[in-house]
Amino acid sequence: MSAPAAPRRRRFPLAIHAERRLETPRGLGVVTTIGAVVVALFISAALIWLIGGDPVNAYAHIVRSSLGSVGVLSDTLVKATPLIFTGLACSVAFRMRLWNIGAEGQLMMGAWGASAIVLAGWLPEGTPGFVYLPLMMVAGVAAGALWAGIAGWLKARLNVNEIITTLMMVYIAIKWVQFWVFGPWSDGGFQMSPRFPREAWLPRLTDYSSSVPDFGGLTVHLGFILAIIAAGLVWVFLNRSRKGYEIRLIGDNPRAARYAGIDIGRTIILVMLISGALAGLAGATEISGVVHRLQDNFSPGYGFTGIIVAFLARFNPLGVVVAAIAFGALILAGREIQPAGIPAMIQGIILFCVIASDVFLRYRVRLVRP
């Protein structure tokens, strides 16, 4: 006797079979990330082709106008600098599953804090750079940290969702900066502050062109070096310090962290302060390294792009540097690509592909014949 076989559905000749991985092989993260970016570039190419563009030409142009010469490479690094800081800011928080998506607001406040040192008029005219610049950086760090710290405090004490607070506080920060550039710090009624004195500018390569002529026109500034140092420090902090271990533990299992004697509330506040400080540095270096004045709309969303950079780097501080330079290139090339939305679209597609590629880390996926 045999039971009648149940009717089988018609099938495609190949089926996808996913099996949970027991262990993730070393280096697979890097391979899948690169794979995801390549897939994203193919999808973007298809879309460019659909709107009548020539994808090969477009990509060649992006590479040429962002990495093709020392001059544009320098411009790419200028764009990458704030992205490294915001990417680090997001990575630190995201490692703990603390979703600080308001790096843009903390960046604004950092820029405002740095500007206040110059514009408040506390320092006499002719104050040297070695006084101006450290004070500006510290003020930027403090303002950014404070801004994120508020959201951290609300989360730790009252369990207020940090996704909402950090995002909403972006808009408060934007309005706050607008108030100052339209009002008290307005330069003769324009929506920007007066230009900072030269002493409040971060040194750029071009500033040394009198002694090294080849540096002429290279606008990459000291902030880039600070960003690289910050990436190294954040790596050490996350991977070698006690707090870094606590952050990993809380990120994986908050109940186990509490059981291990970790004060989760205090760690949330601390991580928010660090995250905000890094984003604040993004604003402070951008203001004193590139813009040289406080103005409305000086950031093309560096804080939000930092979220993508962090995910692309899988929250690894050293990966953040690489991802930030790639996105810096994309932003730079964006000025020359028509329609202007293409680079933003490519960014978005890359984020989607990288997040989707996670499935290959957690599952072994095979095509099988059913």
Partner: protein
């Protein structure tokens, strides 16, 4: 005599995972209308075999026939199409949805419009027919664990399953619920269904199974032997491959000074009701106090107030140091070790490495914690040492904790807690869900610590375990603790009556436990 009809026939199944052969040339038969127990230690490969049968894993080699037809499943959906369904140990229900909605989830029918009354009637009829009493309109979160399990079974029956794989179904149930489940299973087999019953509890296997297949380290050591006439000892020997000690050596240890002293401790549970109603308790060094009780009578809360995880009123001192309402880290520093009830939810970080899990309590202090840094080479050295000493079976110290079997995870937790050289150990259900071999290891470790002068509070539902290990025994019921008596004088019947509240615990007698 004719051959009995086979519902399932698995031949030569091989499944390899990195570093281990989980199933090595395994054969398995399931007859129509039988309950077939699949017995084995944690990590013996029984769940792997059944996951292959249910379509969750693909086998590396071997064939499977269901009702004589060769089948190859690529997903649980393929399996259920030929009437084969698995009920997992951890339920796969959506809490805010109703029973009916859960049962319909993922089905092709209904397509767009959910005609709730019609489907509720359908589910209700099926529940009645099969004796799986459950309200089709109830939300899942309102149901008891036993009822939720019924919903899982109904889900499979609704999809037309006549072969049911139950993965350790009794692990989450209260004794009375187990009896009800067995009743249901018998009704189902009488109606022609076939059931695979995965377990490592020998009593239950002998009670419910018609035949038993025993697995050890990926191979079958006894294939489909009739359960009738077998004893627990026979089965245990097949499972662990050697004679199992049913008694332990408990050397006399003279109790020392008072380590833990609790006076008038009261606490409320997460649900806002009184969980501890005035607890007085003393434990001396070199002493194991066994606290018996049915789960949910305040045991978890008691462990939590001692370890600083829960607020309370009253006084708790360890070696004279007040610990009530102090941070968890203070209790750790004062030498309180905690083997928590929930190993995966509280006791470990599943996606972190063995090393990260082993240093959870020691990373703050030298030699691992070094100023603000962690000396990872020292941490790794210690982790490797603990892994070897406590025989945590895993490929390396970089393996993620979630990959450990239940017994190995418990060894890891005990390794971590004991290596902190604590003065007091609070062990909550330390052997629940473990197999015979692992239980023996845990018992030996606890007795070794007792001999070394540690004070142990052993909280367990298993009376045999409590009587075997403890010096003195007390009972907790609805937040009250009875006076303790020497374990040798304890009567199982009396304890059972107190545990179930049939005999009231006199609060005035709920005094201190004195050595």
């Amino acid at each position: 005599m004719t051959e009995p009809t086979l519902a399932v026939e698995m031949r030569g199944i091989v499944k390899r995972f990195p570093g281990v052969v989980a199933n090595d040339q395994v054969d398995f038969d399931l007859r129509v209308g039988e309950v077939h127990a699949l017995l084995g230690e944690n990590g013996a490969g029984k769940s792997t075999l059944m996951n292959i049968l249910a379509g969750l894993y693909g086998a590396d080699a071997g064939t499977t026939r269901v009702h004589s037809e060769v089948v190859e499943f690529h997903s649980p959906r393929d399996a259920i199409e030929v009437g084969l369904g698995m009920v997992h140990q951890h339920f796969t229900l959506v809490d805010p949805l109703t029973v009916t909605e859960n049962i319909l989830l993922g089905l092709d029918e209904p397509r767009f419009w959910l005609d709730t009354p019609r489907y509720e009637a359908k589910v209700g009829a099926l529940a009645e027919e099969t004796g799986l009493a459950v309200d089709p309109a109830a939300k899942v979160w309102q149901l008891s664990v036993g009822e939720q399990q019924r919903v899982e079974i109904l889900k499979m029956l609704y999809r037309g399953a006549n072969i049911l794989i139950m993965d350790e179904p009794t692990a989450v149930l209260a004794p009375q619920e187990i009896d009800e489940l067995f009743e249901t299973l018998r009704g189902m087999t009488a109606g022609g269904a076939s059931i695979v019953f995965i377990s490592h509890k020998l009593d239950e296997v002998l009670k419910i199974a018609d035949r038993v297949t025993v697995m050890r380290r990926g191979v079958v050591t006894a294939a489909g032997v009739p359960a009738a006439g077998k004893t627990k000892r026979d089965l245990a020997q097949l499972m662990v491959g050697r004679e199992v000690l049913e008694t332990v050596d408990k050397a006399e240890v003279a109790p020392g000074s008072i380590v833990l002293e609790m006076t008038g401790v009261e606490a409320i549970s997460d649900r806002g009701i009184t969980a501890l109603a005035g607890i007085d308790l003393r434990i001396r060094s070199g002493q194991i106090i066994g606290l018996a009780g049915v789960a949910g009578n305040g045991q978890s809360e008691l462990a939590e107030v001692i370890t600083g995880l829960r607020e309370c009123t009253g006084s708790i001192t360890v070696n004279g140091q007040e610990l009530a309402n102090r941070p968890v880290s203070e209790a750790i520093d004062a030498g309180v070790a905690h083997v928590p009830e929930d190993r995966t939810g509280t006791g470990s970080a599943p996606n972190l490495s063995l090393t990260d899990n082993l240093i959870m309590k020691s990373y703050r202090s030298e030699p691992i914690g070094h100023g603000w840094t962690i000396d990872s080479s020292v941490a790794r050295g210690q982790a490797q040492g603990l892994k070897d000493a406590y025989e945590v079976a895993a490929p390396s110290i970089d393996t993620e904790a979630r990959l450990l079997s239940g017994g190995n995870l418990q060894r890891l937790i005990l390794a971590r807690e004991i290596s902190s050289e604590p003065g007091l150990m609070v062990a909550v259900q330390p052997t629940r869900g473990l197999d015979v071999g692992a239980i023996e290891t845990v018992h030996k470790l606890l007795l070794k610590q007792r001999a070394a002068g540690m004070a142990v509070l052993l909280i367990s539902e298993d009376l045999d375990e409590i009587l075997m290990l403890s010096d003195r025994v007390a009972v907790i019921y609805e937040g009250h603790i009875s006076a303790s008596i020497p374990a040798a004088e304890a009567d199982v019947g009396d304890l059972g009556l107190m545990m179930t509240g049939s005999v009231t615990i006199d609060p005035s007698a709920a005094g201190s436990i004195r050595p």
